[in-house]
Amino acid sequence: MGKVMTMKQAIASHVNDEDLVFIGGYICRTPFAAIHEIIRQKKKDLTITRSNAADDFDMMIGAGIVKRFIGTFLSLGVYGLGRCYRRSIEKGIPRKIEVEEYTNLSLPMMLLAGSMGMPFVPVRDMLGTDLLKIKAFMGEKKYKLIDSPFDGKPTLLVPALNPDIAIIHVQQADEDGNAQIWGIGGDCKVGANAARKVIVSCERIVDRDTIGKDPSRTIVPSFKVAAVIEEPYGAHPGYTPGFYDVDFAFGALYQKASNTLEGFNDFLKEWVFDIEDRTDYIQHYIQTFGYSRFKELQARFDYGYPVSYEY
């Protein structure tokens, strides 16, 4: 069975209701094409996780498909607080999600532990703060505070996290799923490798020989990957280094739309529900804003020295 498929097929086959889903990205390489498809397919009661969540998580929460969030942070960056996140927590609209709160050290370490097959991992943060007083659906399993068996000092243990599925967007992958990135990594590598399987969305599918010219860039090996989707501009309005820039104007559009429930729902209709797939999305973008604005997003090229792995 080949792994190359459409996003529609990948999400339908590999994302189930109630799954724990890791979604990679850090404004850099946000898998937005996959997120839109998950919303279109109206998956139910997902638990979503990543360090530093942004507009993509806010949108899923606003769309009502999220039950739980294992997170550290959620904001729209320069555009301020996540509007849908606030509506959910403060007013229960469209539903009140449950939040388990960690930090940008502890959560990546939990994913690292998951990726390494370790049951838990000691971390040196959260101590002495109210983050230890709040426990949601993980209850007593959010953390354990012990005296270190080595030096007797207070030591915080946090559990390994093993998502049911990870979804990442990368620059390039081969048809078997060997996935390569460059640029800001966030917790993408540990999150993907902690998951039971991975959906790889990529700017371009390349052949196995191309991967082999620079194998140190590969963050996920083929045997963990269930689906490969070639999805150019798949991270828009986020960016992919070497391909296209952040679309700041679109970020402002989302902020403005999501200020109100009605605006948010109109936005979802226009950019998600009335859109067939990513090709359709790009066409709609160009029709709405013009080709020149689309073209402006494209990255300049500044190639480095090619590397040689020969001996």
């Binding site: 850090y26 404004i27 850099c28 360090s51 530093n52 997170g71 550290t72 942070f73 959620l74 904001s75 960056g77 320069v78 607080l81 996540g82 996140y85 606030r86 927590i89 403060e90 709160e101 960690y102 930090t103 940008n104 050290l105 502890s106 990546p108 370490m109 690292l112 971390v123 040196r124 943060d125 959260m126 101590l127 002495g128 703060t129 109210d130 983050l131 709040i134 000092k153 207070p154 030591t155 460059w182 640029g183 800001i184 990594g185 966030g186 917790d187 993408c188 590598k189 540990v190 960016y239 280094p241 820039d245 952040v246 700041f248 500044d302």
Partner: protein, 266 residues
């Protein structure tokens, strides 16, 4: 002697106050806005060997414009190293390599505890804020934490509604009791009115310097705890000509720093 042009805005003064806390050779973890500008002013003036990193995975970036987030695309080309959160927050911060961290928050209290989680009760919030992100680990583990805050009775507090990031927690001995590493913790609170430092014994923030155009009395009246005043309290040194030159000509020619005026840093 240094020349001090008087056409500066408050955020520029605050950035300079931050810069002056950085020593040559310091390893600094920054976010966006002030911190990056402060750290870079230091780098271009008295601390050429300071190095900067962003939690998202970037070390020694060479951005051609001010970064708007720690994930900004301009941080990629030219950086000395790019990895991920585990590298920066684990291998460098948790392992004790970070000398200086910058933080800000919606609420800061007299012990330098910071709230970025919630205003009001956690379960019935008046306002849900973004959460910790990298703030808690930076506040837990960086050797010197520089806190940026707005100086009024809403943003400063005797006690924050929620401790997201530890300062000196409940006061003397608290960090030690919780097992946070020795010689870490808040170093200074830089506000739009003053610079406050922490008393060695009580761990409480006291007034060290007041910015030009303010007074000790005004600052005491804007501070929600009984603010102690340093014996040698004096006016904050205004931005030096060479600091402003770096800020305006190299780091921020578009003067994006002005957006902080709109946010109340006046």
């Amino acid at each position: 002697m240094h020349r001090h042009p008087d056409d500066y805005i408050k955020p520029e003064l605050m950035a300079c106050c931050g810069a002056r806390e950085i020593k040559d050779g310091d390893v600094v973890i920054v976010g966006t806005g002030f911190p990056t500008m402060a750290a870079n002013i230091a780098k271009y003036t008295h601390a050429p060997n300071a190095t900067l990193m962003q939690e998202s995975g970037v070390f020694d970036a060479r951005p051609r414009r001010p970064a708007l987030s720690v994930g900004d695309p301009c941080l990629n080309p030219g950086a000395a190293m790019i990895g991920g959160l585990v590298d920066i927050m684990g291998m460098f911060l948790q392992a004790g390599w970070i000398d200086v961290g910058f933080l800000s928050g919606s609420q800061v209290d007299k012990f330098g505890n910071i709230n970025t989680t919630v205003i009001g009760d956690y379960n019935k919030p008046k306002s849900r804020l973004p959460g910790s992100g990298g703030a808690n680990p930076i506040g837990s583990l960086a050797k010197k934490v520089l806190i940026i805050a707005l100086h009024n009775k809403k943003r400063l507090a005797e006690h924050v509604d929620f401790i997201t990031t530890p300062g000196y927690i409940d006061g003397p001995g608290s960090r030690e009791k919780w097992g946070l590493p020795d010689d870490t913790g808040p170093h200074v609170i830089i506000t739009n009115k003053a610079v406050m430092r922490f008393d060695k014994d009580t761990k409480e923030a006291y007034l060290a310097t007041y910015h030009p155009d303010t007074s000790v009395d005004e600052i005491i009246s804007l501070t929600p705890w009984e603010l102690k005043v340093a014996d040698d309290v004096h006016e904050t040194e205004p931005p030096r000509e060479e600091e402003l030159k770096v800020l305006r000509e190299v780091l921020d020619p578009q003067r994006m720093i002005r957006i902080y005026e709109a946010r109340g840093y006046v």
